[in-house]
């Protein structure tokens, strides 16, 4: 198991009481597996994968990544874990506006202390179809292009697991499709585990399993035909 989530709970203080956004969520993801997280807006999807990626602190329950309890790690160790083992693709890209595409991709490598990854980064950008845009700044690129840079960035450190939070939520249908394909292809080529949040049932069908959330609880967990294909 690369990821194991046990009785995960997340609450927010709201007015007088507590707002429970995630309630006793448990599931597991195996190495190399792809998982789609689905559910209506506000059901807690972003909250869930942010917690899994160590970007947020749970109110209760445990998250084990490669059998390491995220809650037991120091912030420093968690940072290092995020850097080495986790990739993250945001719905709103979150590229650093003052860096070029190439530099954005290089950031995780440099944070890991590897300063010789430029060729690798160029290769990744070429792979996502941005060979011509290496030195462009985020504000000079379309949303789809920015998200491709974000994907290249998520994979540069060859993570064990990549989380993508509605990576196509801000994009039009045609662009969405190419981005999704890219994400799956990269995932397969690199042998990574992928957890993707999506509204798109068609996209979800491409994953091995679907986890449905409703009001912060696991509504259903089901395997897809894709699992049988790959099996």
């Amino acid at each position: 198991m690369i990821l194991a989530v046990e009785n995960l709970t997340r609450t927010y203080p709201s007015g007088a009481g507590l707002l429970t956004v995630l309630d006793q969520v448990s599931f597991q993801v195996a190495l190399g597996e792809t998982l789609a997280v689905m559910g209506p807006s506000g059901s807690g999807k972003t909250t869930l994968i942010s917690l899994c990626a160590g970007l947020d602190q749970p109110s209760g329950g445990r998250i084990l990544l490669e059998d390491q309890d995220l809650g037991q790690l120091s912030e420093r160790a968690r940072s290092e874990l995020r850097n080495r083992k986790i990739g993250f693709v945001f719905q709103s890209f979150h590229l650093i506006p003052t860096l070029t595409a190439l530099e954005n991709v290089l950031v995780p490598a440099e944070l890991a202390g590897r300063f010789d990854q430029e060729d690798q980064a160029r290769a990744f950008l070429t792979r996502v179809g941005l060979a011509e845009r290496m030195n462009h700044f985020p504000s000079q690129m379309s949303g789809g292009e920015q998200q491709r840079v974000a994907i290249a960035r998520a994979f540069i450190n060859q993570p064990k697991i990549v989380f993508a939070d509605e990576p196509t939520g801000n994009l039009d249908d045609r662009t969405s499709e190419t981005i999704e394909d890219l994400l799956f292809e990269m995932n397969r080529e690199m042998g990574t585990t992928l957890v993707i949040v999506t509204h798109d049932a068609h996209l979800a069908q491409k994953t091995h399993r679907i986890l449905s959330l409703r009001m912060g609880r696991v509504d259903s967990e089901s395997s897809t035909s894709a699992l049988e294909h790959s099996a």
Binding site: R82, T98, Q146
Partner: protein, 845 residues
Amino acid sequence: MSPSEWYWSLRMAWRDTRGSRFKLFFFSLTVTLGIAALVATSGFGSNLQRAVATQAKSLLGADLVLSANNQLPEDIQALTQGLAGPRSRWASFASMAYFPAQDQARLARVRALEGEFPYYGTLETDPPQARLRFDHEAAALVDDGLMTQFDLKVDDRVKIGEQEFVIAGRLLKIPGESAMASAVGPRIYIPFRYLDQTRLVQFGSRIRYATAFLADGWDPDQWLETHEKALRAARVSFDTVKIRKENLGNAFENLETFLSLVGLAALVLGGIGIASSVHLYANRKIETLAVLRCLGGRTGLTMWIPIWVSLGMALIGVLGGVLLGLTIQWVFPLLFQAWLPVDLDYQIDAGAAGLVLVLGVVLAGAFTLLPLSSVWFTTPVALFRKGTEPDVRATRRLRRLLGFLLIFCLMGFIVIQAQRPLLGLLFGGGILLLLALLFGLSWLLLKLLKRFRFRRLPPMIRMALANLHRPHNQSALVMLALGLGGFLILNHTMVHQSLIAQFTRTGSNDRPNMILFDIQSDQVDALQSLLTRQTLPKESPIPMVTMRIQSLKGKPIREWIGEDESTQVPEWAALWEYRSTYRAEQSDTEEIIAGEWVSHFSGQEAVPLSLEESIAETLHLTVGDEVVLDVQGVPFTCRIQSLRKVDWQSMKPNFYMVFPAGVLEEAPQMFVQAVQTPSSQAAAELQKSLFIQFPNISSVDLRLLLKTIDDIVRQATFAIRFMALFFVGTALFVLGSCLVNSRQQRLDELAILRALGAHRSQVRILTMSEYGFLGFLSALFASGLALLSSYLITHYGFRVDWVWNPSLILWAVLGSVLLTTATGLMTELGWNPNAILERLRAEVR
């Protein structure tokens, strides 16, 4: 951190400035202006202070003057043996001066002078080189007024004692003489070597001997401290510039304090410049840091990126500021020297520049970390939703720690800059209190704004008001900067006005500058009408009755005479014809130091008498002792009722003995009168008419002495005005650029508004009313606080009357609103439709 990580953070910092280098440079400019103000202020301040200090030395004309009723005793001469630097000596005494051409005589104050005195200031004469004739002939310099009165010309003769002198010139300005001497009569200067030829030096004649020193490498006040006892024991009087200055009141100390206060205010101004620009920059970096955290960057590493940028900005700003400040110091005198009453020289204050550099670094660091402090302890997710979640406890603790550190450092800087720890602490404490007040006020106000919806107001204005209390809006910061800056401007302007008022009083304006002596009782009325005819302001005539001492403590005065001053009385004091006055009220130039003032004589056995302290000492008298005075043949038995300390520097007639009302009214008497002459022509005219109508009345023109004081007052006044004006000018610059910086933040939101279809005019109203409102409130806060603090400072700090004018407040509020609305207008002018798109694209990262 490893070297490669250091390198990485630096490189990221450099990249971080891409696309905003011009903007960041503009931020640095704010720092530059603040620092330039600080450097130039401290430069000009010490410059002016030195100029005024040099000028003040002409009050005495030397660094140290020792004087006694005899030649300096052997042991005291031995003490002064080792003192490096030139010295001069003189003897001064009262004598009749006889003018053979006119066959007229007049009581004059003669000074027999040897040496280069005065060392500070100049003895102004007409012709200018007149004094050179001292070297080779029996020449004399004669009081300007006396020359006019007797219609004397250069090369006329004057006889003093048995020696005749040729008049070499008129005395126009005399540094280093106190008013006491002048009260005896007009001055005549002669060469020291002719003193004996006058045959006026005999046992018992009252001659004052003095030696003046120019200190070459030693501190006269320190020397005095060591030898004061010996000097007192030998009955040698001493005078230094410091003592003279003290006698002029606290005006000089106030000048110094004011100049250092301006320096401190400039320091705070520099601080505002740094803090506001760095804060505005750092605030925008939260998101970048959040992204880096998500990618696995440690805060300890990534935090260096904005710190480097801030430090870079601060360094560029500080260096630019130091350069600009020095340039201002250099160029200003070149341009304006002709109009300045002070010689401004150019000097680099390396200490101040270094201090400023450290200050810049510390402030830049602290104000980068303050807005970014949440990055340390919050999860990346919370960072993306900045402002919606309360800070965790660790963040608050870090912020508090940073705050304390900052306050500590600032206080340190202020104390160093103030050079006087107490002043620094008071100022620092005041600024902190002020910041707290301003912060509290703006917080309260924003809270209130949030409560009300203002439904009646037009939508754009309503939106402007709502904008003020949005989370992560810069209103509080802008208000703080504007409020503090405005406060400093107003406070200093008000304090400066009060100080100017004080200096003007110390100066000779509106003060009597001529004293008329020997007015007969039957001349008083006629003289008053003459003065009224010439429209000269005057004080009421003071009666003067001459008397001699008959006995002291029951022993005839003859038996007291002797040379042992500890038990006996010197001959001059015993045989002196005392000129005493009588009055019911105390004068404002004296102070009772023993006994009690008695205003009326009610017929007791002995007449209550008030004695001046030094004569009391000479006569070995104290409160309760009995004296018999011979008032023109009639003996009066008197009892000493009080001792007075008299301010001899004051330009008013003062007396050794003062009687209460009800004793001497019927005695034969003469009068003295102080008159104010507005110009030397008016003085000359008066002296001419006096000579024709009342030839017996002599006049002393104090203008000669007052001129020295006036020069100093003019320079000090200039110093205060100049520094106040300079400070206000630079403060406006700093505040203006602060505002322009803060508008950058606005542009993003305005772009969205425009994209949503808002009219240009609507947006203009929005920004102008938002900024105008900020300006109005800040000015209001600043005015209220400045009124309060300037009152406290002038009243308790400087001990002068508080002067203020309401129009200043009006101007401040008006100016602030204008400045802010203009900034609001500029915000709107800066972009075109393409820019809107670009802004929006930049928003969607």
